[in-house]
């Protein structure tokens, strides 16, 4: 019998994608090892990675909201 607190399979897939995406982006190091385009003086290498910190936080936030409602709490 599934635990009523566990989340539905569809939500699980979405959450998995949200949580795995940052790993894919950050571990593909050669994809962002570039100087251009620059943003406010920052080479691409730096602003791209800083930007993804914010995106990672947003993704985790969405994952939280999804599992909270899906999991009753």
């Amino acid at each position: 019998m599934p635990d009523p607190r566990s989340t539905s399979p569809a939500v699980r897939v979405v959450v998995a994608v949200l949580l795995i995406a940052p790993f894919v982006v950050y571990l593909a190091v050669p994809s962002y090892a570039r100087v251009k385009p620059r943003l406010a003086g920052f080479p691409f290498f730096y602003w791209w990675q800083l930007l993804w910190v914010i995106i990672t936080a947003v993704f985790i936030g969405i994952a939280y909201l999804l599992t909270r409602t899906g999991g009753r709490r």
Binding site: D3, Y26, V29, A33, Y46, Q49, T56, I60, Y64, G71
Partner: protein
């Protein structure tokens, strides 16, 4: 810099003393409400909300690592040192996945340490012991890194000498830490966390807004740093680094980030912070909020470039042959003395408090999972406290050995060495929260093989400056790439675990009893069977 900067030193001492006294005063003020007992610490461990947990966990990230070691790595090697940013980002999906489950099962079964959980989950005292010992070992170099941080600040202020007095700043740092932990336990650090973090935020925000304007903007900082990094290093004849990673360093960059991310939230001191929150959702919410710290960590890392962009700072740091001085020297040159003093106090307290929390986390592991489990099952609370105090002192002496024995050209290697060890408990701990399939003996064997491989490989790394433990990356067998040793050892660990589990299961070798149920991993505050954990931060 040969003389002591009086203003800086005075401001440093005043702020330092103020923060410490405030912590003790607060502890005294609250003490009347509870009994003089180990559980007295308990107030720190009951029902922390999102906000407090954010501070508590964030405080674990903002240490000398962030302020001294990461900028030093960027100063010395350019883009290669920036891997700390992806690390601090991808650590949080991992927290989101393992934190809530660890919280739930710990609150159902009364686990206080990671070793408690592993022992209960796999029914193996020896596996619990392995996890406990690994935790204690891994804390020592991490504490050592904090000592190096305080040492760097004191050196720039001008507290230094020659001959025997050469190690004076280090001895002062050590004495401060020992006295602080011994008398205050965990209570004062927890209460100081707010003041400490506020002070640190102030300094960070001023540093990343004020210094770039003074140095001519970010674009100029990157360009000057690029020019400086491209100059051949006199020792090797090669450029010391570049603004972006190269084909040679992509692998090291990615594996250092991933390996450190696996390590971050299974360190004994961060687990304590996770378990101290009031509900499991608090952890999930924090996993989304804590990356705010990472953003600042990234900008702080760039202080290394600012130090490179300022010719007199870069020259002074290079003359001292100690990249750890990059940030303190930069502050010393661009800030007025009084504010440099404030900044140094922030760094000093920011290193001291985590170091105290770390040494207490390590001594908790020893007292609970080694001493009580194997030697004195009926030890009284008073006896446990005495043992814990003694061990916390021994752990710090161990840290001192790391500081003295290691070449300090890059102190970040100290933390990375701790990571090599702690990551080897991830299969039992992180994966153990999701699956019970692994056999206890397979986990133990995988851990042992990986610990030996990781330690030996790290030991064999040499550089012109140091014969052993010179770096934390090494060639990966068969792949011909340079990668973080922790991750290579982790892969080896997993191979051993999987193969041996299959064999042991086929041979029907008896497995330990799992005292946890599937439902335990989803339990929340208010559910039947979920206990409050007032003793969490207690012993």
């Amino acid at each position: 810099m040969s003389d002591v900067n009086g203003v800086e030193l005075t401001v440093f001492i005043i702020f330092f003393a103020l923060v410490t006294v405030m912590g003790f005063a607060a502890a005294r003020w609250r003490r009347g409400q509870t009994l003089m007992h180990l559980d007295e610490w308990g107030l720190a461990g009951r029902g922390f909300g999102t906000f407090t947990t954010w501070f508590l966990l964030g405080g674990d990230l903002y240490t000398a690592y962030t302020f001294i070691a990461v900028p030093a790595a960027v100063f010395a090697g350019g883009a290669m040192g920036f891997w700390a940013l992806p690390y601090a980002a991808i650590a949080y999906p991992i927290v989101f996945l393992i934190g809530p489950r660890l919280w739930s099962v710990s609150h159902v079964h009364g686990y206080v340490t990671t070793a408690d959980f592993v022992r209960g989950r796999f029914g193996s005292k020896s596996l619990g012991l392995a996890v406990a010992l690994t935790g204690i070992m891994a804390m020592m170099p991490y504490i050592a890194l904090q000592l190096v941080g305080i040492q760097a600040v004191l050196t720039v202020i001008g507290v230094k000498g020659s001959g025997l007095a050469k190690d004076l700043p280090l001895l002062i740092a050590f004495a401060l830490l020992a006295a602080y932990t011994y008398t205050s336990g965990l209570r004062a650090p927890a209460l100081i966390a707010f003041v400490k973090d506020s002070l640190i935020y102030l300094v960070i925000i001023v540093a990343i807004i004020y210094i770039p304007t003074k140095l001519g903007g970010w674009g100029h900082i990157f360009d000057s740093a690029q020019a400086s990094l491209a100059k051949p290093n006199p020792a090797t004849g090669k450029p010391s680094g570049s603004l972006i990673t190269s084909d040679m360093t992509h692998w090291a960059y990615g594996t250092l980030a991933l390996g450190s991310a696996l390590a971050l939230f299974i360190y004994p001191h961060t687990v304590t912070g996770t378990l101290a929150s009031g509900r499991r959702n608090v952890i999930k919410r924090n996993a989304a909020l804590l990356p705010a710290y990472s953003l600042l960590l990234g900008l702080l890392a760039l202080l290394g470039y600012m130090a490179l962009a300022q010719p007199d700072v870069a020259a002074a740091v290079k003359a001292a042959k100690n990249p750890q001085l990059a940030v303190p020297t930069l502050f010393d040159h661009v800030f007025p003395s009084w504010f440099a003093g404030v900044a140094f106090a922030a760094i000093g307290v920011g290193a001291l408090v985590p170091a105290a929390i770390m040494s207490i986390a390590a001594s908790n592991l020893f007292t609970r999972n080694v001493y009580k489990e194997f030697f004195r099952p009926d030890a009284s609370p008073a006896e446990q406290t005495r043992v814990a105090q003694l061990v916390s002192l021994l752990v710090k002496l161990g840290a001192l050995v790391f500081v003295l024995a290691f070449d300090k050209t890059l102190s970040i290697n100290l933390q990375l060495l701790g990571g090599i060890w702690i990551v080897q408990t991830f299969p039992s701990l992180g994966l153990g929260l999701y699956t019970r399939w692994f056999h206890r003996w397979a986990l133990l064997a995988g851990w042992a093989v990986a610990m030996v491989y990781g330690t030996l490989t790290a030991y064999n790394q040499h550089s012109p400056a140091q014969r052993h433990f010179a770096q934390s990356t090494a060639d990966v067998p068969f792949l011909h790439h340079t990668a973080y040793i922790a991750l290579t050892a982790f892969v080896l660990n997993m191979v051993v675990v999987l193969v041996l589990t299959a064999i042991l299961r086929a041979a029907r070798v008896p497995d330990g009893t799992d005292e946890t149920d599937d439902g335990d991993y989803l339990a929340d505050a208010g559910d039947p069977g979920v206990r409050e954990r007032p003793e969490l931060v207690a012993e």
